[in-house]
Symmetry: D2
Subunit: 319 residues, 4 copies
């Protein structure tokens, strides 16, 4: 944890300095990973090596800066919630999307159903399970998994993304809490799709194989206002990108989002597979892989690395 007083003493735009700081961040992250442990609520996730750590920082020009395990594939898990939201905004529109899901942080755990059953029939936001399942329900009416996978590949600028069958089976077999959520949504009359079809799409999206590079590329696409900077192709409208970033900022890091906002201040989304995707202004994307999680379910090494980067390179949205 940094003191809020310390200030970097170098040019935060000098490539060599940036590279050095990213290497330090990598070292910090690798070290911090020792304090976390791999998720075990899905058997397939428990097989990850908690010592793994990798980071990729990618701008629109020049080569990405990478350290450690940046090519290793792992399941995207909750980071797919960003893709689902982006797809809903693109294919259904802002108004339709937010007719069926809210925009408020909950202060509860990501898989909580407390608010759903006491405060509001609509899920609070698209970054918690209930909200992402709700969005999967909407998407299931207008596209199939193959089409959504194509969108995910475009959104991450990574054609190598594919379904991890073992994780998908593991999710489906042990996803009882998510099944409870989908039926709760149905019982309230708010679910938009068929429950089992919805759940299947949700589980499949959680089971996509990405790597730190894919996540950096997702962050870069967000930084480029939804345009692929290499091909010039527009994937998502800039107005939607703003919405996505704002929800990543307020709700993207589970019930650690507020503290992460203060300490790191980079719109980011984490997954229990160990990934974090971050997006910095109109500058670059950051992808991290570190399956050792902290108590809130966020990559322990990833948070340490991102805090270092944000602090030294002044990446905080409000600095």
């Amino acid at each position: 944890m940094y003191s809020t007083y310390e200030q970097p003493e170098f040019d935060v735009h000098d490539p060599a300095e940036i590279r050095r700081v990213i290497y330090e961040a990598y070292c910090n992250g690798k070290e911090a990973a020792a304090n976390g442990r791999a998720a075990d609520y899905i058997p397939e996730l428990a097989k990850a090596d908690p010592g793994d750590f990798g980071i990729c920082v990618m701008g629109a020009e020049g080569d990405p800066i990478v350290f450690g395990e940046v090519e290793k594939r792992f399941s995207i898990q909750s980071i797919s919630k960003v893709i689902n939201l982006a797809a809903a905004l693109k294919f259904l529109g802002f108004r339709e999307t937010f007719s069926h899901v809210g925009m408020e942080p909950t202060g509860d755990a990501f898989n909580s159903i407390l608010k759903l059953d006491t405060v509001s029939d609509l899920p609070f936001n698209p970054m918690i399970n209930a909200g992402a399942i709700q969005i999967a329900g909407m998407l299931s009416n207008v596209m199939d998994f193959g089409e959504l996978l194509d969108f995910a590949r475009a959104f991450c600028m990574d054609d190598g993304i594919a379904l991890n069958e073992a994780v998908y089976r593991s999710e489906s077999e042990t996803g009882d809490r998510n099944r409870a959520i989908v039926y709760l949504l149905k019982s309230k009359g708010v679910l938009q799709g068929d429950p089992e079809k919805t759940l299947d799409l949700y589980f499949r999206m959680c089971s996509l194989n990405v790597n730190a590079r894919s996540l950096a590329q997702m962050g870069l696409l967000l930084a480029c206002d939804g345009q692929n900077p290499f091909t010039g192709r527009h994937i998502v409208h800039p107005g939607y990108i703003r919405t996505i970033k704002s929800l990543m900022f307020t709700c993207g890091m589970y019930d650690e989002s507020g503290e992460y906002g203060v300490r790191v201040g980079i719109p980011s989304k984490s997954g229990v597979g160990g990934g974090i995707a971050g997006t910095v202004g109109h500058r670059f994307g950051i992808g991290v892989y570190g399956p050792a999680l902290n108590k809130k379910g966020n990559s322990a090494g990833g948070i340490a690395a991102l805090e270092h980067l944000s602090h030294l390179l002044k990446l905080n949205a409000f600095s």
Copy 2:
């Protein structure tokens, strides 16, 4: 409500255009005020004229742009939570402050005690009543109201700020829920000050008389990294300003913070007196006065005006 697609077609840095957009925002806000109503939970607040509306936008150079009721004094209410937090950071430090209060949005109403009694003994964040009372308790050990008032004047660059005695009496007499909160904090062993002294300081700070201009000046000080741009005096350290802005973004607009982040995207804090203080990058502060509130307790006109400004002038932190 704007479509997320519409784009401004003018130079967002042209002073004349900016002035025109601010006037439109004023008109929108004045009109939207008709849909709200003045707070009535404190008798003194119910006396406000719900038709009042004023806006002040102030940069570090040149005259502020003002329309409507910008000189009329009203009670600062919850916007004082920003001042309390700034004082705690300045006089007690980051580590000490956040040893006694969290940084997470709650998803609950501003005066909720639900989480306090179920999830955590510490208040979730400094922007809800429980958190601000907790901070008032800490401050009560190191300074008296006179000193905190001096800080408030410096923080808002407004020596005209004074205690509104009528509101203060009204708060003290009807503040039973806040009294419940302070004793709940005490019963959990987390309160740092004497309960009645804490509550008195909290009520006094809620009863400060500000106007739209003071709030714009507070926003400007935040935009200037805690430095008074006119005198050059450093009021609060830049590292703390970042923390304050981040918490304003995630928690500043009651349980409408998430949606406001998406639609407006300007770190802001509202009060049930009808004020909103916003801060835009390193550019300017915005102060609004509109005592007609929406259902979440935020100034109805203020939100309409700020949404217009943000949209037309591209002020969203993530655009």
Copy 3:
């Protein structure tokens, strides 16, 4: 509502007087039904005639006293929870049964999952949906529906009890909240049976066709310590009957159980089909049918009739 001061002025054991009081109770119930409305959350239930009302009081000797619609069949709904509990106690034992479900009233609605997700992994008691589903899961491992139906017939001394296919289909198709509950229990690792098999058994038991006479007979069996007074056959052990009556008293009337205990004081169980089964000391059973429900989901006429009976005949367990 009776004053607690009025006292009956006749011999509460004189058959003619008893008959007269039961007739008054019937009239009161019939009248009170006008204030309720039939359940509509299952389409099949909404077809009931809210004007229907019938009451049956049956002792171990002599003919039952009946007025109104006592032969008309309707679905047992939540009253089946008593049969499920009795079966669990008989076939699995006290210790095993209460290893998987609690004994505490919740103060929440019958279909609430709040406590299940915040306070305890085990359902609070067998009289709420979560608890009855849990018991159905246990039973599904040791018996099939045919065997449980046989037990239900013996427990109600009514061989005419059969599955109402239309209600069963309606339950299955619209029982999403119960499906959410079963998967929530499974996700917590506490569910004892297969989720779909459990749910099917639960829905079937809710769909049994009973009438006011069957319910009076269930009450009589409880009054006779679990023995069929006409055949001498022991159906359930007396020690278990005590347990069942106690849970009916504290939890049997949804979140109106406490007030019902004060005003009526007869161990009873209600269902949203409009039935109430009550049991009075070692004296007799009472069955009521009145599909017009009050806001808590209890038969409006049934409660009025039972309050009259209890008051005039001094049937309160604590009088």
Copy 4:
């Protein structure tokens, strides 16, 4: 814990047998006390000797049967809730009393404010702190502590009852949670008295010095329908006694009431001072003193003794 199958094999009305069973209950209670510990949330309570244990069973005729520490005085704590309720019913009436407090068990801890802030503005029942404070507020308008003390003495047939000044001071100084409750009730506009006066009356009533004998006498008065069997004086109307017993049954043993109802089945009220007062039909009262508490806040020895008595002497209300 007893099997529900075992049956006593002796005449449950033979005085010598009863005496023997009560002695066994005393021995069991004394032994079970080793598993509990004295309350420590009020410093004064922590001074109790957890090894102390005493029991007193008293019928309307003949000498009471006593074993162990039956004369030692201790603070009545929550058992005073029964006296407060009885006084409210007597002096304000049923209708007025239950206009301001409910009758439903909560399923929450005795000092919970969860339901108060989410489900209902009125406290759920008179046996939890919020409900008893509400009743103290009502009483504070019609009588002073001296008069209520006189009533308590009559209700317990014990002129030796007096205020324990040390406990009263300890309560007042550390009763912050109760102070939070009283101000929460006031903020909701439901509190009937002045908050500090209400709290003072509530704390004083919790601080009355009773002994196991007083509690048995309270139970006996309840068994005698509110009449002192020795003087013939009517203290409380029989209709109110029924109400009190019913609420003791559903809500009297904190969040262990449901299980206690099943295992013991005697209308009882416990206090964290270590006392339990029970009332058996129209037969006798039981008073227990055992300051070693179980996790729910009930006397560990007391529950063991009462379960033994209930089982062997068949005292369960529903057996």
